[in-house]
């Protein structure tokens, strides 16, 4: 097989492998969701979701993340057109939106903790913090990834590895967006109402 064909085959393998990884991440989140569902009413005499969750605030978080997914999609289109400047700009916007999301989420957590509703208070809060923070940590990893990748693309341009990595990054970012939709529904909407 020629070197170019080998490299292309290798890139395809990496994409398949990354898909499988995302499926394993799916199972990980599913486990946390299942635990949350079982413990959503285990409030240990303390406040539950209805008392604690600020739905408009969470809506803002959601809009930030959804928009960042959109700009990530724009970045991928720029990638396909090999437009390095546009790609980097869209990646930067995605980064900023994601950072804002993390900031808001951190703020939400800080408020809960200072009010005494931290993860030690009840099974419900343990499950809530772990599920949402796991997603938040994944977002942080994505932000770091975007930063490192952006620098790499800026300095080395769009070559074999960077193209592959940008593809993987966008898969990762969209996946996290989907997980957030579930969090929004299962954690905030469902528990916020009951």
């Amino acid at each position: 097989m020629s070197a170019i064909a080998e490299r292309a085959a290798g890139a395809q393998r990496t994409v398949l492998g990354f898909w499988i990884y995302l499926m394993t991440d799916c199972v990980l989140f599913a486990t946390l969701f299942a635990t949350y569902a079982v413990q959503r009413n285990s409030t240990n005499g303390g406040p539950g979701g209805a008392a604690l969750f600020d739905l408009p605030y969470v809506l803002v978080e959601t809009m930030l993340l959804l928009t960042s997914s959109f700009t990530c999609g724009l970045a991928v289109i720029a990638l396909q057109r090999r437009n390095k400047q546009l790609l980097l700009r869209m990646l930067a916007v995605t980064f900023v939106l994601g950072l804002a999301f993390v900031g808001l989420e951190f703020n939400e957590f800080r408020y809960l903790v200072t009010e005494g509703n931290d993860w030690q208070r009840s099974g419900f809060l343990s499950a809530y913090f772990t599920l949402v923070a796991t997603h938040g940590l994944h977002i942080c990893v994505g932000l770091l990834w975007a930063l490192v990748l952006g620098v790499q693309i800026w300095r080395r341009g769009l070559g074999g590895n960077t193209v592959k990595r940008m593809t993987l990054f966008s898969m990762f970012w969209h996946f996290l967006d989907v997980v957030w939709i579930f969090i929004f529904s299962v954690v905030y909407l469902w528990s916020g109402r009951l």
Binding site: S42, T43, N44, G45, G46, G48, G123
Partner: protein, 300 residues
Amino acid sequence: MAHVKKRIIRRRNFILAATIVGIVVFGVVARYLYVTPIAVLQPAGPIAAGQRELMVVASVLMLLIVVPVFTLAGVFAWRYRESNKKARYAPNWDHNRAFEVIWWFVPSALIAVLAVMTWHGTYAYDPYKPLLSNQKQITIQAVALDWRWLFIYPEQKVASINYVRMPVNTPIKFEVTSDAPMNSFWIPQLGGQVYAMPGMGTQLHLMANEQGDFYGSSANISGKGFAGMNFVAAATPRYSFDAWVADAQTKSPLTLEQYAEVAAPTTDRRVYTYSAPAAGLYDTIISKYMTDHTNMEQTE
């Protein structure tokens, strides 16, 4: 010629010796099994008897598959060993629909039969199902502690540690919980076990058809003293039970303070008896762990 004869004699001697050793070993094992109690196979109550019956029937049914497997394995290994030149050799024969149908279908049929048995048996011997009897049911609450068992008789208003007495031929409803890690409440001769969990109440309905002292234990590891968590489950005539209750009512009461002492970790396995367990003690123990919206009562 002579060495062939010697080999035959040696082989004969070997078979003779092996047979004698085999008979001796068999005799020793048989006697041992005869004199040693095998609790699960020697039921003293209807639940354990039903469980044994299921076990025996299922085992016999499975022999329908297992015996052919062993036979085929032995026969094929012997017949088709490479030194046997007489056997047919068909190196590319790798497919036969009829055979495949047989061994997909016959085990499936067997499993179907076992499945029906399982379905009926699971409902029939459901630990939550009360036993039918013309005698009135007695409730005994079993609490797993570190590392012994506390038995509370809410109706008779007595309590005991590591000893539970029940009248024979009377259905007993055990309500089981734990004030310690997860344990498992098990009296093999009367019937199977149920987990004892803090903050939760499980149930086990049992009955003794025979008098006797039956071995009970905890079947789930709960810490350092777990191996010592044996108790005696005694089935006696009704008058004997009543006498024991009357005697227990003269002992010191099991107040909440006394209970706190009793529940402290200890490997003291001795039997103690108390009168007047604190009202609602069992429920108090459970609700120590329960909080809002976590109603973990396992009732059916």
